[in-house]
């Protein structure tokens, strides 16, 4: 339950985006900083809408942010 099968590289992409902070990303996406933290730690899988918003804010496509690893 604590670990999901969707991997992401949001932390790296934030660094490439002029060292965007989690708070900045959260504000632009419309979620809390703790939610961004949980997504980066793979403790929460965001909804499709939030996933698209994250990719849009970071200026990349969805599959550059998230990858699915089946069992």
């Amino acid at each position: 339950m604590a670990r999901c099968h969707i991997r992401n590289n949001i932390r790296e992409l934030r660094a490439l985006a002029d060292n965007m902070t989690q708070q900045d990303l959260a504000d632009q996406v419309g979620v809390t900083r703790q939610t961004i933290f949980a997504i980066e730690k793979e403790k929460y899988s965001p909804s499709l809408e939030v996933a698209f918003r994250i990719a849009t804010v970071l200026g990349v496509s969805l599959d550059e942010v998230f990858t699915f690893e089946p069992n």
Partner: protein, 152 residues
Amino acid sequence: MDWSFQEKSICGSLVVTAGLFSYYFLKVFEVLASGTSSAVYGLPFVLIGVIIAMVVVEVVYHVLIALRSEPETEDERDRLIEARATRYSYFVLVAGCVTTVGHAMFAGFFDAAGQADLLHGPIMIANFIILSFVLAEVVGFAMQLYYYRRGI
């Protein structure tokens, strides 16, 4: 990772609810242990005092944590955690209500200690239901904290 406003709120509510109602149900147990039917009539006043104390403590606590926290709105993760935790609360509440109904209807058949009048009075039945509500709330709060810490 520091705690969000939601986590602090839930933790505080859990402690306050569990603490104050532990005191209340200790009083209920004392009444049951005394075996005096008339003693139950003091319980509603204890309950009112506990509820007032709970409201005051919760308001003060939430004002304090709001002053010390950044402004936050509830997002999809908060709503999902609340919804998942509510399922467990519901199960506990249903179990408590079913137990209370069973007790009200059938406990007299097994009343070897002769305490049917004490245990079957409306105040005691109400207390069993209140206990169900409190346990459901505590389980709900605990599950929310679990999901916030461990992930969902």
